[in-house]
């Protein structure tokens, strides 16, 4: 008997149907709904529900400055969130992978616990902190920084804080697993040979952690683009984002297919912007893909 035969169990005549449930499920409840979503935004139905032909009216409805502005603000929100998360997560991931290595399980534990708790409770917790008579205002007044309590809730600041709070672990985890794999002697060597921290970061660490960085960036960027609970609850009703507009249309009466059309338009622009950002990151960080 040769080894090759043994490496893979002999292909028995097992019907494909045994492995198929997951794929059927996936096609039925993932691809089909998405296809329907795309279709329903270009198909026209009469009042009675009979098919009347194709239309781009619903799509064109959203290609107006008002809605493009909504998409732009989601873009700014998502990009800002991804960049802030990156800036906060990188030192933390480095800390987890190198400095705090001895107690890394404890630190990882502390990072994941809030992440695994219902996120509406986080929003509630931040209400407590950001309220007019909340923790932050009391603290700032106590320190004498401000005389009158500031309005934090229902401002872009509150949205941003909550976004970073919620999405931070999505950035830390991939960065941490990239940083954990690199040989720390490379960083020491770079520092010993006279490079500054900035140079070491740019020429050694960033190229070596590029994969984790990209993974984290898009794990934050893409869901933040469609986020609606955080802007809705922390931002009041003044600011409109893609998620809030979609929710309003979809859950409104008779506007479902318009909501679908807007989802389609926003998704396409999201994909384009993600592709663009991908190339920007590729250009900004030198080196081939590693670790």
């Amino acid at each position: 008997m040769n080894i090759k035969f043994l490496r893979k169990p002999p292909a028995t005549e097992i019907p494909f149907i045994i492995g198929a449930p997951a794929m059927i499920w996936q096609v039925l409840f993932f691809y089909l709904p998405l296809l329907l979503l795309a279709l329903s935004s270009v198909l026209q139905f009469s009042q009675l529900g009979s098919f009347e032909g194709f239309t781009f009216e619903k799509i064109a409805f959203f290609l107006r400055p008002l809605y493009l502005k909504v998409i732009l603000s989601s873009f700014v929100l998502a990009l800002g969130n991804a960049i802030l998360c990156l800036l906060i997560a990188y030192p933390l991931a480095y800390f987890l992978a190198c400095v705090g290595k001895r107690h890394k399980n404890l630190f990882l534990f502390l990072l994941i616990v809030p992440f695994w708790t219902n996120f509406l409770l986080h929003i509630y917790a931040w209400f407590f902190v950001l309220e007019k008579e909340g923790f932050l205002n009391n603290l700032l007044q106590g320190l004498g920084v401000i005389a009158e309590p500031l309005q934090f809730l229902n401002t872009p600041f509150a949205i941003m804080v909550m976004m970073v709070y919620y999405y931070l672990p999505f950035m830390v985890m991939p960065l941490y697993s990239s940083l954990e794999k690199i040989d720390m002697r490379l960083i020491e060597a770079s520092l010993d040979l006279g490079a500054t921290w900035g140079q070491t970061l740019r020429r050694v660490m960033l190229p070596l952690t590029k994969r984790g960085l990209k993974a984290g960036f898009f794990l934050v960027y893409i869901p933040s683009f469609g986020e609606f609970a955080i802007p809705e609850l922390m931002g009041g009703d003044k600011m409109m984002f893609v998620g809030t507009v979609v929710a309003n249309y979809i859950l409104g009466d008779e506007t479902g297919s318009l909501g679908a059309a807007f989802t389609l338009v926003a998704s396409i622009l999201l994909l384009l912007s993600a592709a663009l950002l991908y190339f920007v990151i590729e250009r900004l960080i030198p080196g081939k893909q590693h670790g």
């Binding site: 169990p9 492995g19 449930p21 709904p33 329907l36 409770l121 986080h122 020491e188 979609v246």
Partner: protein
């Protein structure tokens, strides 16, 4: 180490401490006020457990808790079962590598988009919104975790184990149930925990696909948030934090055994 190395050391130490403060100050404030006799925004007045009493006698809350539990358990079971079927097929020599890419979209697309698509689909095929639709929606999300993680672990398994089993006369099916599946068990448990918690805490899919009759815990908390601040939510936070602490601990203990890299 050189001077700049020290700078980096203390720099990251301070940065990490600040980040942990940022993560935990809101939660600690929340917990402290769950013991305050007067509801927020009153300052600290005195210690009480009355909000916890109120919490445990709020029957609507526990009904929605139960709903979330049912949905999470069913969604986890469905996605794990389908994962096992797929791995079984792969272990018998079926080639699934090229199908794997099918499952990568689940975690990448914004949940809002999936929720909108599913809502349209459920309306079209007239499945009434409720726990069933929630279970279906969450199981799709679960597949996105189960299939890639468990399949990756399956590829890493020591082939000599299955070889030995086959050489010693076990059939491929026996080999799967006596060797492959037990070796995969820790990875399956860890992934199952992950899917459970994602489903249990999910808000967006529930918001769109739950309909008006069935309320999950997330939706219940949302309605409480909208009706104003009540210290009962603080008490609930304490209970849920305790729950997630124990789940994360369990997750850590098993994932060490599973040597599964989740993130």
């Amino acid at each position: 180490m050189v001077k700049s190395g020290k700078l980096g050391y203390y720099g990251t130490l301070i940065a990490a401490s600040c980040t942990y403060l940022f993560l935990y100050v809101p939660l600690i404030v929340l917990l402290v006020f769950s013991f305050n006799t007067e509801p927020f925004p009153s300052p600290w007045k005195g210690f009480t457990l009355k909000w916890y009493h109120a919490l445990f006698s709020a029957s609507h809350l526990w009904a929605s808790f139960l709903n979330s539990l049912i949905v999470a358990i069913c969604a986890t079971a469905i996605s794990l079962a389908m994962g096992i079927f797929l791995i079984f097929y792969a272990a018998q020599g079926g080639r699934i590598g090229k199908f794997l890419a099918l499952f990568y979209g689940n975690l990448v697309i914004p949940e809002t988009v999936l929720a909108v698509g599913l809502l349209g689909f459920f309306t079209l095929v007239s499945i009434p919104l409720g726990l069933t639709t929630l279970i279906l929606a969450h199981s799709v999300l679960g597949l996105g975790f189960v299939i890639p993680i468990v399949y990756a672990r399956f590829l890493e398994l020591d082939y000599r184990m299955t070889e030995a089993s086959l050489v010693l006369g076990a059939t491929p099916v026996q080999t799967f149930f006596k060797v492959t599946l037990p070796l995969l068990r820790p990875a399956l448990i860890v992934t199952g925990l992950l899917v459970f918690i994602v489903s249990f805490d999910d808000f967006i899919l529930s918001y769109f696909c739950a309909g008006s009759t069935s309320q999950t815990l997330s939706l219940y908390i949302l309605s409480m948030l909208r009706s104003g601040i009540s210290p009962m939510i603080n008490a609930l936070s304490a209970v849920l934090l305790l729950l997630s602490c124990s789940l994360v601990l369990l997750f850590f203990t098993i994932s060490k055994k599973a040597r599964t890299q989740i993130f």
